[in-house]
């Protein structure tokens, strides 16, 4: 096979849109679980100089030093003030719209507009939050960005039920899934590489600290102490799983094991460190990228088998060789 064809086969595999259903529903759930717990703190976290915990304006001024074009909640506050609305109203509107976008994504109703609104408002809140943001915010932004540009609506959305005639280009679906897959490989490879550069991941001390220091000390410390002999092995295992993910997630023989291992790691992070949102977004991204393409299928197979798994859908365009 020529290089050009191999590149095409890799980047443009024909895929069903089942992965997109995972991504849409998963991100809808993430957005709902992102906004709902913050409902009572929202105005306090993102409020201005007079009412906020720190000051949204302070972080937005810093953001402007990077670029004045990065979306922020201050834009919505400004627009609301033009029509007589207060800052509090603008922040409540942002929360309500983001929550509604999450629900719409869950249902698959107005999928594209909901994805755009969710991306814009989540990004704005993460950027206006400044130092109040953490890793989960970046990962949610990544997921929403890919969802926003993906070939929506997917087959299982209410949008498709409303407009059943619309089809999906399986190669376009495959390209977008491939982008998500490659991005996850970057995330884990560099995450594992930087961890393995720290001595604490080799002797178990990093896992001990991660599990016993507030606010991540969900487990009783005596439980962690009881299993402390395992911590060095688990620390090394975390590094190995993350670094090897980029290579072993592709071959068919290792994909299920790696996917299971990485999902187990994220479930453990969620349960043992209380980082539920972080765990959920990583599970969603992994299952969308490498999870079963159709109910009953074990995992995607277009790379390993060299044949597209189009599943039970009717492609709009077909391969030239078909």
């Amino acid at each position: 096979m020529k290089v050009r064809e191999r590149v095409r086969e890799f980047f443009l595999p024909a895929e069903s849109d089942s992965w997109l259903t995972w991504l849409r529903v998963g991100l809808g759930l993430v957005i709902v679980l992102y906004t709902w717990p913050l409902r009572s703190d929202w105005s306090y976290l993102f409020g201005g100089s007079d009412k906020g915990l720190v000051s949204r304006q302070l972080f937005e001024v810093l953001l402007s030093t990077q670029s004045p074009l990065i979306p922020r909640l201050g834009w919505l506050v400004f627009l609301c003030r033009q029509v007589g609305g207060s800052e509090g109203f603008a922040l409540s509107l942002a929360w309500s719209l983001l929550f509604a976008a999450g629900l719409l994504l869950l249902a698959g109703l107005f999928s594209r507009p909901a994805a755009i609104v969710a991306w814009l408002l989540q990004l704005s809140s993460a950027k206006s939050g400044g130092l109040l943001s953490y890793g989960a915010d970046n990962l949610i932004t990544i997921g929403l960005f890919y969802l926003m540009i993906a070939p929506l609506p997917d087959r299982r959305s209410l949008d498709r039920w409303r407009r059943p005639a619309r089809g999906i280009d399986p190669r376009m679906s495959g390209l977008h899934r491939r982008v998500l897959q490659i991005h996850l490989c970057f995330i884990y490879f560099f995450g594992g590489l930087t961890k393995s550069l720290g001595a604490g991941w080799w002797d178990g001390s990093n896992l001990w600290r991660a599990l016993t220091e507030p606010p991540f000390n969900v487990l009783p410390t005596n439980w962690v102490a009881a299993g402390s002999a395992l911590l060095p092995s688990l620390g090394i295992l975390v590094c190995l799983i993350e670094i090897s993910y980029a290579f072993l997630i592709w071959p068919k023989w290792s994909r299920r094991t790696v996917l299971f291992g990485i999902c187990a790691m994220h479930i453990a992070i969620g349960l043992m460190m209380g980082m539920y949102l972080f765990a959920l977004i990583m599970l969603v991204l992994n299952l969308a990228a490498f999870g079963p393409a159709e109910p009953g299928q074990k995992a995607i197979g277009s790379v390993a088998t060299g044949r597209p798994e189009v599943g039970a859908f009717r492609p709009v365009c077909s391969r030239a060789s078909d």
Binding site: R8, F11, L12, P37, S40, D41, Y44, L45, L53, V54, T65, S67, I70, P71, L123, K127, G129, L131, L132, S133, Y134, G135, D137, N138, L139, I140, I142, F145, R171, L175, V179, I182, H183, F186, I187, Y188, F190, G191, L193, T194, K195, L197, G198, A199, G200, W202, G204, S205, N206, W208, R209, A210, T212, E213, P214, P215, A225, S228, G274, M275
Partner: protein
């Protein structure tokens, strides 16, 4: 192959080139800061290697450089402006911020910055960690002043607030097994706030 696929493939290549550069830049920064097991080994070399990704990402460019702003806008919009070294290379030292509120009747009580839910608490923790790790004294003081003001709003009868920012050291696994349970708070900075004035003291270099 339709032409739009070529455009999309070009975007994919550029997008992941940027992702790779950001990740590489972060990894090389950790190495040149001697935060890894590599220690001082080859530190000037890491710095030299980092010049390329840093230059492409616009690190040396001026404040209103169009290239730097374009890269920043795109990378922030796509969520790729930072690398993925979560809890890496090591789990950092935990910090805490405690406010000592003084009242007119000489009463004193202790408060910590408070938010409602668990998710908001994670964000507050992230804020305090980044305040503590800041190299800028004035930036640190400004942020603590704002947090103190929020606490003041919840305790309006307080006449003065003294803020203690320090590191919290938990027992290691071996110390815990030997019977040590308590965490120690090592105060790094003290800030005195009165209505309309503030004064900072650094306790440790």
């Amino acid at each position: 192959m339709p032409r739009r696929y070529y455009f999309l493939l070009a975007w994919v290549v550029l997008h992941f080139a940027l992702v790779g550069l950001v990740c590489l830049h972060e990894t090389l920064w950790l190495l040149e800061q001697r935060l890894t097991v590599a220690g001082d080994t080859f530190a000037p070399g890491w710095r030299a290697l980092d010049k390329l990704p840093d230059a492409i990402l616009g690190g040396d460019a001026g404040a209103r450089n169009l290239w730097r702003e374009a890269i920043a806008t795109y990378s922030n919009a796509t969520g790729i402006e930072v690398g993925y070294g979560y809890f890496a290379p090591n789990v950092p030292t935990t910090h805490a911020l405690v406010f000592e509120c003084h009242y007119p009747d000489d009463r004193v009580d202790y408060q910590t910055p408070a938010v409602g839910g668990v998710e908001a608490q994670l964000r507050l923790t992230s804020l305090i960690e980044q305040i503590a790790r800041s190299n800028s004294g004035s930036w640190r003081e400004e942020l603590i002043k704002r947090l103190a003001r929020s606490t003041w709003q919840q305790h309006p009868d307080a006449t003065a607030i003294r803020a203690f920012l320090g590191s919290v050291t938990s027992p290691t696994a071996a110390q815990y097994r030997a019977g040590r349970r308590e965490r120690t708070f090592d105060c790094l900075y003290v800030y005195d706030f009165r209505r309309g004035a503030s004064k900072a003291r650094q306790l440790a270099p």
